[in-house]
């Protein structure tokens, strides 16, 4: 089997990134606001999914707390970009505490701070939770995410409580979303394909053997969890400036969001970065497309009433069918690399001979 050289790989990948850039430019110019928004959302979902698959797929520990870090990133960044007068207007139950009430900064620093705060939260959550394993870890992280959500709901002088934040400036463009997605993929990809990534993948298979090979399992799990938390926070910051309104209901930044991201990475294949991106694109696209099912239709003169909730039901069915019949999703643990494509087609050609 031929191996594709590093140089060729680099050239092809650069061309692919530039090509994608032009494609996005074309889409946002010629299809207008609606598709522009959806494709921006794909980028945001991609960031959330790639950071989630680092923990749940590559490292092989099952967290259910992703939405907690997304929420922290979202709130932090939104509180930093909201205009000062807007804050004074929104916080009418209790005024916003100093210094948040007198800060307003640009989108980029706010996003990065959102990521850092989320990463710090991931450290605080991961440190105790990683002492337990398996489904206990899943429940512990879910518990922390719920605690984060409930604290947000009750902290009126910081987060405006259950009223949420409104009129967040709509800064998130296609370029911010896909630019950050590129950064996420490069960083997490670089991590996965390094000595540390090998250690993470080894741990996901057998922690006892990994320890015997000199890997500090706890430390590496924590590193992975914190990196994941950072990008979840970035995703959350972008999401807040895409939604422009955020609140702590379970259906917006709660367990429901974790479910959605889980669906994306299960579709893409747990542990695959490119799979996570594909899963996110698929999810964002079909969630929009399935809205048709939920709106009333006129079918050959017969009026079919819309069925609310139908799109989520279809996703749930897809999700279960994947788990039952194709557990590795689209990509399994593999990456959609040029080598993968080359192997795929040379195998196909071989079959025909």
């Amino acid at each position: 089997m031929k191996r594709i050289s590093f140089k060729l790989n680099f050239v092809l990948t650069t061309l692919f990134v530039i090509g994608t850039g032009f494609f996005l430019l074309w889409v946002s110019n010629s299809f207008g606001g609606y598709w522009d928004r959806i494709i921006t959302l794909m980028g945001i979902y991609g960031i959330m999914a790639v950071s989630y698959t680092l923990v749940n797929g590559v490292t092989g520990i099952f967290s259910l707390g992703h939405a907690g870090f997304i929420a922290i990133g979202a709130y932090t960044a939104a509180l930093l970009t909201l205009p000062i007068q807007q804050k004074a207007m929104s916080f009418f139950i209790e005024p916003l505490i100093w210094p948040l009430n007198s800060i307003q900064m640009g989108f980029l620093p706010a996003t990065i701070i959102g990521g850092l705060v989320a990463a710090f939260a991931a450290f605080l959550v991961g440190y105790p939770s990683l002492r337990v394993t398996g489904d206990y870890f899943a429940i512990a992280t879910f518990g922390f995410a719920e605690i984060i959500r409930i604290v947000i709901q009750n902290s009126y002088n910081i987060t405006n409580g259950s009223l949420g934040l409104k009129s967040i400036p709509p800064y998130t463009t296609i370029w911010w979303a896909w630019g950050w997605l590129l950064v996420t993929v490069i960083v997490i990809g670089s991590l996965k394909f390094s000595s540390y990534g090998r250690a993470l993948r080894a741990m996901s298979e057998d922690t006892v053997a990994a320890r015997a090979m000199g890997i500090d399992v706890f430390k590496h799990q924590l590193i992975s969890f914190v990196v994941s938390g950072f990008f979840a926070g970035i995703g959350g910051a972008l999401y807040a400036h895409w939604l422009t309104t955020i609140d702590p209901r379970p259906t917006s930044l709660g367990i429901m969001l974790t479910f959605f991201v889980l669906i994306m990475i299960v579709i893409g294949g747990l542990g695959s970065i490119s799979g996570a991106v594909l899963g996110a694109i698929f999810f964002a696209f079909f969630a929009q497309w399935l809205r048709i099912v939920e709106s009333p239709m006129n079918f050959f003169g017969i009026n079919i009433p819309g069925i609310p909730g139908m799109s989520m039901l279809i996703f749930a069915i897809i999700f279960i069918l994947i788990m039952l019949f194709r557990r590795k999703g689209i990509m399994g643990k593999d990456e959609l690399s040029w080598q993968y494509i080359y192997n795929y087609f040379s195998k196909k050609a071989g079959d025909q001979d």
């Binding site: 960083v187 670089s190 991590l191 390094s194 000595s195 540390y196 090998r198 250690a199 993948r201 080894a202 298979e205 057998d206 006892v208 053997a209 990994a210 320890r211 015997a212 090979m213 000199g214 890997i215 500090d216 399992v217 590193i223 643990k333």
Partner: protein, 289 residues
């Protein structure tokens, strides 16, 4: 024939186990085990199933913490030290039921063990504290950031890891399978890969848990030569658990016999073969006679 290193050879104690005891609930799995390994020795640890042999391995490598007793490795008390640090200090092991990273390639399995090269700061600190003149003060390096940012520093180490892993695979004859998934290997090569993986941590003491299990006569003979070979090449001290008596008698210089967590005999193979207690312990289990 195996040369038994005489009294004239400079004796250096690599491993010393004193009164090693562990209890699980009410059960005493290992009871006051005393033993030692000198540099370059190949020692056998035998005994019926459930005698506590693997438990001793687990205590040496730090997976279990002994209830009491001490483990001294190269003069350093390592009792209760975490498994990853004992590995960094130079103790490597294989497992009774092969535990490879089966979804990863053969090469990656070996390279995973080489990750310990970047992670041995704590172990180096222990060594420095033990003997400052021989071991210089270690410097902590942010390897994680170097790895993510792919700094020249890191890429150099990565290249070294790769070439050393290929060397090791050549050594055990698995080089041609380097890019195969570990689970795709047949049983015998899997055993060898596990040993190669252990060697990649650059150990001075190697613990082999039933390396000949499930092998036929031909394969066992090959394994025997292979172990002799790596012992020489990597100047290893080896402690091995084995059920195949022929194998143990042929290869080991001294043997500890364990039954119900207690040593019932210790000596050179000849003495063990004729020891009454040993025969008694194995009696009734025909496969060993």
């Amino acid at each position: 024939m195996i040369k038994i290193k005489g009294k004239d050879a400079a004796k250096k104690e690599v491993l010393k186990l004193e009164n090693l005891t562990i209890r699980f609930g009410g059960l005493t799995a290992v009871d006051s085990f005393n033993g030692y390994l000198n540099k370059g020795e190949l020692i056998g640890l035998i005994g019926p199933n459930g005698a506590g042999k693997t438990t001793i391995f687990n205590m040496i490598t730090g997976i279990y913490k002994p209830t009491f007793g001490t483990i001294t490795f190269n003069g350093i008390n390592i009792t209760g030290i975490k498994p990853q640090i004992t590995t960094h200090l130079g103790i490597a092991r294989t497992f009774q039921n092969i535990r490879l990273f089966s979804e990863m390639s053969v090469l990656e399995n070996v390279m995973t063990a080489e990750h310990s090269w970047l992670q041995n700061y704590k172990a180096k600190k222990i060594l420095h504290a033990h003997n400052p003149s021989e071991f210089p003060k270690p410097h902590w390096k942010p390897w994680f950031w170097s790895a993510v940012l792919k700094t020249p520093d890191y890429l150099k180490v990565e290249r070294k890891m790769k070439s050393y892993a290929h060397d090791l695979l050549k050594e055990v004859g698995l080089d041609k399978y380097a890019h195969l998934k570990a689970s795709a290997l047949p049983y015998g090569p899997q055993r060898k890969l596990e040993i190669a993986r252990a060697l990649a941590t650059k150990p001075s003491l190697l613990l082999l848990d039933e390396p000949a299990a499930g092998m036929n006569g031909q394969e066992t003979q090959e394994l025997l030569e292979f172990i002799e070979n790596i012992r020489e090449k990597f100047s290893l001290t080896i402690l091995l658990i084995e059920h195949d008596m022929k194998f143990v008698m042929k290869i080991c210089e001294r043997i500890y016999v364990l039954d119900y967590g207690k040593i019932i005999a210790h000596g050179v193979p000849k003495e063990i073969q004729s020891d009454k207690k040993v025969i008694e312990a194995y009696l009734g289990d025909e496969s060993y006679v």
